[in-house]
């Protein structure tokens, strides 16, 4: 197996409501099962007009939208959504890398895009990232046996309390928020020391190596990408 589809690093507070718009039956079915296995609640639309109606009736946390749809295409669905002033995060799926320009140009108002066929963990990670962007800031982050409760400022691995310095907390929080995705050391520096505080890439390495010791037995893998950054994933 290339990856574990039963990761569980979503905020435990709510089931994530996803609107999936895909006209290909096989892909729609596969996506639904995959996302449901991630604990997401998936609603399906088969064409653009149906999607447009559903987006108005029950706004999802994230809309996953194919571009090539019968009726009105994905671009048009997003255009109408944004014209109504809705901020629903949209992840576009495309089979044509030729349209990457347009998607990337943000002229569509979409937030992210993926080219088919995609790696499943990548899709899940991107959906989670979009959900987090708009969700009320979730107080609790969980991955593997790690639970990070920002409101109570308490962290634990299983039942074992985790003692973290302020910086270590910030690094772990960032890694948990981006679980499943490679993050660069520079991204970590920018995120936890945003006002040009004196934080070197070497310091980040130190915090991560301390975290690595403290996360022993946490049911996660914290991989070092040599010369670049880190990847935190569920699974030992």
């Amino acid at each position: 197996m290339p990856h574990n589809v039963r990761q569980s690093y979503f905020p435990i507070s709510s089931r994530m409501h996803i609107l999936l718009v895909e006209d290909d039956a096989v892909l729609a079915d596969g996506l639904t099962r995959t996302l449901q296995a991630q604990g997401m609640q998936v609603e399906i639309a088969r064409d653009g007009l149906q999607a447009d109606a559903l987006l108005q009736r029950t706004p999802p946390m994230v809309a996953v939208l194919d571009i090539g749809l019968p009726g009105i295409d994905g671009f048009e669905v997003v255009r109408r959504l944004r014209a109504r002033g809705a901020a629903t995060p949209v992840l576009l799926l495309t089979a044509r890398d030729a349209v990457e320009d347009r998607v990337r140009g943000l002229e569509t108002g979409a937030d992210d895009y993926l080219v088919k066929p995609f790696a499943t963990p990548e899709l899940v990670a991107r959906i989670r990232a979009l959900a987090r962007r708009n969700a009320p800031k979730s107080a609790v982050l969980a991955l593997g046996n790690i639970v990070l409760d920002s409101s109570a400022r308490r962290a634990r691995v299983g039942e074992r309390p985790l003692e973290l310095s302020v910086r270590e907390w910030a690094v772990l929080e960032y890694l948990l928020q981006h679980a499943g995705r490679v993050v660069s050391k520079q991204q970590i520096v920018d995120a936890i020391a945003p006002w040009g505080e004196d934080l070197t890439l070497n310091a980040v390495e130190v915090y991560v190596s301390r975290l690595r010791l403290k996360l022993d037995g946490a049911g996660v893998s914290l991989r070092t990408i040599r010369g670049f950054g880190y990847l935190l994933e569920a699974g030992a």
Partner: protein, 439 residues
């Protein structure tokens, strides 16, 4: 290659010169003939007058020898010949005239004009002739010729200059057309603007625009076809992949199912890869009317965008994948370059054995360009195969799992960017080092 300018000049300047020459000849005749007649008339009158004097005064009226100057800078001779041609009196140097009239002769080495008048001499017919040098005539003639040559020369030069200018002026729209064509990007298929073009060039511009239109339509049809192929192949492949993954997770406990599903997932991955490669190969096709837009970008950022995918691939084979990314600014097409990076890294990960090491580096080169280097510690590539690995469908051995397209894509994209692709070997131990040196 024939030149319109030369043709026009040839057909304008030649006739102008011929006409001018003809006009000069005519002018010469018109100017010279009356002068000649006037001179002749004077000579004939002199001969008539002298004949009268001879009749009255006898041969003594004829001075012997040439009169050196008759008052007009000419030398004259006179003679009286009998009907039988015998010299009766006067200068023996004069030829006996055949009868009355005017004729030319040479006397003492100088051209002369002779007028002969008939008279009765002692009851027998005789002829009195007066020879006179033609110095004044020669002067008049050469004055006429000099003026004509000068005048016609100046005229001809002025006309040629005018023609040269007019031809250049007339051809200026062509030069403008060429300038417009030169100014276009190689992939610009927009129709030519015919504003300000003369009516004579309109058919050319129209024909050219029609051709551009057909090429544009062809390129668009090609893009459309490619997009359709992409959609028709990738969507079912993506669906199949998800279904197989779901099935594999569900049957993780059943060894036989796991084995079978693993094979299917592998085949699915290969189909995905082949599809992507064929599509990017088509996109990088050098003679395609690719609308490759070379824009300033940073190679390091581009590599960083693809890292996620590489990391998963490397993790599956337990390969230590590392990066040395420094700012590498260059002019490039981001989609093509991403294909290049993907294929180079994919190639390295594919041919490096499990537990190996792959390093991707980029940065600014010392000479101003940018470089991308992908280094592995796999088996390396034998020297005799190094030129062949960039050909399509060439694989190093029958066991390898690649399509044989990856490095051909890399080569095509490098060429499109004017980059140099070098295959070397690792400094220490075995392994291959691919370096792309961008200008």
């Amino acid at each position: 290659m024939s030149s319109i300018r030369l043709r026009l000049l040839k057909w304008l300047v030649g006739p102008i010169l011929v006409f001018n020459l003809g006009a000069a000849a005519l002018t010469y005749l018109l100017a010279w003939t009356p002068a000649q007649l006037a001179f002749d008339e004077g000579l004939r009158a002199a001969a008539g007058a002298l004949a009268g004097r001879v009749r009255a005064e006898g041969p003594a009226a004829l001075a012997a020898g040439g009169a050196p100057n008759d008052g007009a800078g000419e030398t004259s001779w006179t003679a009286l010949h009998g009907a039988d041609g015998r010299l009766l009196a006067g200068d023996a140097g004069l030829p006996a005239p055949a009868g009355a009239g005017l004729f030319d002769a040479r006397l003492q080495g100088e051209p002369v004009r002779i007028a002969a008048a008939a008279l009765d001499w002692q009851g027998a017919p005789a002829t009195l002739s007066v020879a006179r040098t033609v110095r004044a005539r020669a002067q008049v003639r050469s004055a006429i010729v000099r003026s004509l040559v000068l005048l016609e020369g100046v005229f001809s030069l002025a006309l040629i200059g005018l023609v040269w200018f007019s031809v250049g002026n007339g051809l200026a729209p062509l030069a403008r057309l060429r300038a417009r064509l030169d100014a276009r990007g190689s992939a610009d298929l927009a129709p030519l603007d015919d504003a300000g073009m003369p009516r004579e060039l309109a058919p050319v511009v129209d024909a050219f625009n029609a051709l551009l239109g057909r090429i544009e339509a062809g390129a668009r049809a090609q893009d459309e076809f490619r997009a359709n192929v992409a959609h028709q192949l990738r969507t079912p492949l993506a669906g199949l992949k998800l279904q197989l993954e779901w099935l594999a997770a569900r049957h993780a406990a059943d060894q036989d199912s796991v084995r079978s599903l693993k094979l299917m997932l592998g085949a699915n991955e290969r189909m995905i890869r082949q599809t992507n490669q064929l599509l990017s190969l088509e996109r990088a096709e050098p003679n395609r009317f690719a609308r490759a837009r070379l824009l300033p970008l940073d190679l390091a950022a581009l590599v960083a965008e693809s890292i996620q995918h590489f990391v998963e691939q490397a993790a599956a084979k337990d390969i230590d994948l590392g990066f040395e990314l420094d700012a590498a600014p260059l002019q490039g097409d981001r989609f093509l370059l991403r294909d290049l990076v993907d294929n180079l890294v994919d190639n390295a990960l594919r041919y490096t054995p499990a537990g190996g090491r792959v390093t991707v580096a980029c940065g600014a080169a010392a000479d101003g360009g940018a470089f991308l280097r992908v280094e592995d510690n796999g088996p390396g590539i034998p020297v005799h195969l190094r030129t062949r690995v960039f050909e399509r469908f060439v694989r190093l051995d029958e066991q390898s799992v690649g399509s044989g397209l990856g490095l051909a894509i890399v080569r095509d994209i490098a060429n499109l960017h004017g980059a140099e692709l070098v295959l070397g070997e690792a400094q220490e131990g075995s392994g291959a080092v691919f370096t792309v040196q961008f200008p």
